[in-house]
């Protein structure tokens, strides 16, 4: 399998920050993988995703998406990815349909095709009766699902999700996870961050645990668990590797 995402010696430090956010990270995410990027708060996960999305320029290193350099071929690389941000990136005073029609139009999707897609996705995510409802009237779980749909409209080859199941109920989380599995089966590469380690262990085909800007371990969930004698789940290994001290 060829590399969907390739990161080489990536370094980034925020302006006026004492520590580097991402410190010489290198990894490769193969086409068709569900890659879990795990780590405590401030580990560098969101910074890595921001660089992949073209929101941040890396200080050093090279990042490519299906061979397109994210700093030099930014538009080409952006077309290939769908990003589900940590925050709900929608217009609260617009309805679900209006939000999706707008973002779909921004991707240049034709009106008729867009309408069909919106209808299908709303049905798939249990939002079929809420298309004309304003987003500000949605529950947290509904907003998360709609936030995910808005990133799927252009059929991205790679879906990047930054904590997509944070603050949602079990039903919504289950629906999202099942959808991601199905989507992956259809060929979409998934890069995913989460604080739910059990969820990651069950979903991901490959995992990297990152702390203080560095990758501390990488492999399939089974490989990682097997490499740490005396530990039988990802959460205990995570705590061992990243230590128990609280992070900001």
């Amino acid at each position: 399998m060829s590399a969907a995402i390739s990161i080489e010696n990536l370094v980034h430090r925020y302006k006026d920050a004492e520590q580097v956010a991402v410190n010489d990270i290198s990894l490769e995410i193969k086409e068709g993988e569900i890659f879990g990027l795990l780590g405590p708060n401030g580990a560098g996960k969101t910074t890595t995703i921001s660089i992949l999305s073209g929101l941040l320029k890396p200080m050093q290193g090279k990042v490519t998406i299906h061979g397109f350099d994210v700093t030099l071929q930014i538009d080409e690389s952006k077309k290939l990815i769908g990003v589900v941000p940590q925050e709900i990136a929608l217009y609260p005073t617009l309805t679900a349909n209006e939000n999706l029609e707008f973002f779909g139009s921004m991707y240049g999707i034709q009106k008729a095709a867009l309408k069909d897609k919106i209808k299908n996705y709303l049905n798939l995510f249990g939002l079929e009766n809420t298309g004309k409802k304003r987003v500000e009237q949605f529950s947290g779980g509904m907003k998360r699902r709609l936030n995910l749909i808005a990133s799927l409209l252009h059929d991205p080859k790679i879906l990047i999700l930054d904590e997509p199941t944070a603050s949602v109920d079990v039903q919504s989380r289950n629906l999202i996870i099942e959808f991601l599995r199905d989507l992956n089966k259809k060929g979409t590469t998934i890069l995913y961050t989460s604080h739910y380690l059990e969820e990651a262990e069950n979903l991901c085909t490959e995992i990297a645990i990152i702390d203080e800007g560095k990758i501390v371990i990488q492999g399939s969930p089974q490989q990682i668990i097997g490499s740490q004698p005396g530990f039988d789940n990802l959460e205990t290994i995570f705590l061992k590797l990243t230590e128990k001290k609280l992070r900001d």
């Binding site: 999305s53 320029k57 709900i88 929608l90 005073t93 707008f102 139009s105 921004m106």
Partner: protein
Amino acid sequence: MRFIAAIKKECLILLRDKAGLAILFIMPLFLITIMSLIQDAPFKDYKENKIPIVYVDNDKDSLGSIIEKGLVNSGIFSVITEIDGTAANDENTKQSVARGEYRLGIIIPEGATKTMNKNVENRVDKMLANFGMAEKDSTVFQSDSIQLIILFDPAAKIAFRSSVSSTLDKFITRTEMETMLLIFSQKLGEASGIKQEAAIESRPLITLKEIQANDSKVAELLTNSVQHNVPAWAIFAMFYIVIPLASSMIKEREEGSALRLLIIPGSYMTCLYGKIFIYTIVCLIQFILMMMVGIYILPLLGLPAFEIGHNFIALVLMIIACALAATGYGFMVGSIFNSHHQAMVFGSVSVVILSAIGGVLVPVYVMPGIMQNISIISPLNWSLNGLNNVFLRQTDFTALVPDMLKLLGFFVVMILLSAKFNQMKKYK
């Protein structure tokens, strides 16, 4: 298609923001109406807004009635002869002026006519005697001076006092001269043995004629409250768009939708162009609404109707230039600041300052010299000057070009600065 989607999105958001709509459309209409009404009196000339003057005529003879007639005919004063139902006298006039109930009182002393006639007659006799036309009187005549008393409200400004005194002095002198001429002609008739009384031509020999520099009837509107306030506050409201526009940009960033736009190739700039387009249209609608208020609503409140002039093409181009400058400014404020609070405080205070120095609150020509020089830095001044060129001076298009270019240049600079700030925010 993307641009149309961006415009549609912006329209929907704007139409659902009731508070924003009120700031954009309702508030300026109230502002324009209230300011035109408040500033109506100071803008009216003395003919329209007469100064009440308490008149006490203790003379009850020709001088007293000539002065009263003169005051009435001057068109500047309205003569009050009764205070609270009682005939005005020295005492109640002094008290009411001292209390500020009236700003001005005038008392004509008893026997003023007789004294004046005696003084004038004596002077005429002396003149005729010098020419050998009458016998010289060896007695030395001591003229009694007549003192007309003018009472001023203690709070009246010096400029007001001197203006009133000089107006009164003007027609008292004229009355004195006319009386002198009358007596002189009578005496001359007696001395020459001609019985017929000479007719006195009292019409002034030299008069002042005020002509507007551009010789246009419309230019008379310059001193009209509506003609100043409607365009001035319309421009203020257009620049006040900084609040909803900056707020919309910051909201987009806070809500995260801007983040999604940054991820979609090329969509962020498309959305920003859509925003510029919609808010420029909003500015144009604001301006049209405010013109309508000036033309149709203000006359219902007793104010003169707003005169829009005849050069519609120049007007439209000028308004577009103003709208672009206002939108550009709002865009820049929305790009610089990170919070609503910062943007609102800076946006509103800066627009008030720019409008004050730009001649919106009071016309530039009544400002001190230093402020008149400073006023040229305000885009609101360029806007107001340009619109006054269309409405009042009725200049041709070429006269509008300098202000238009300044406004368009301002817009371009604001957009470039915004792009720079947005870039800095994006790659922090």
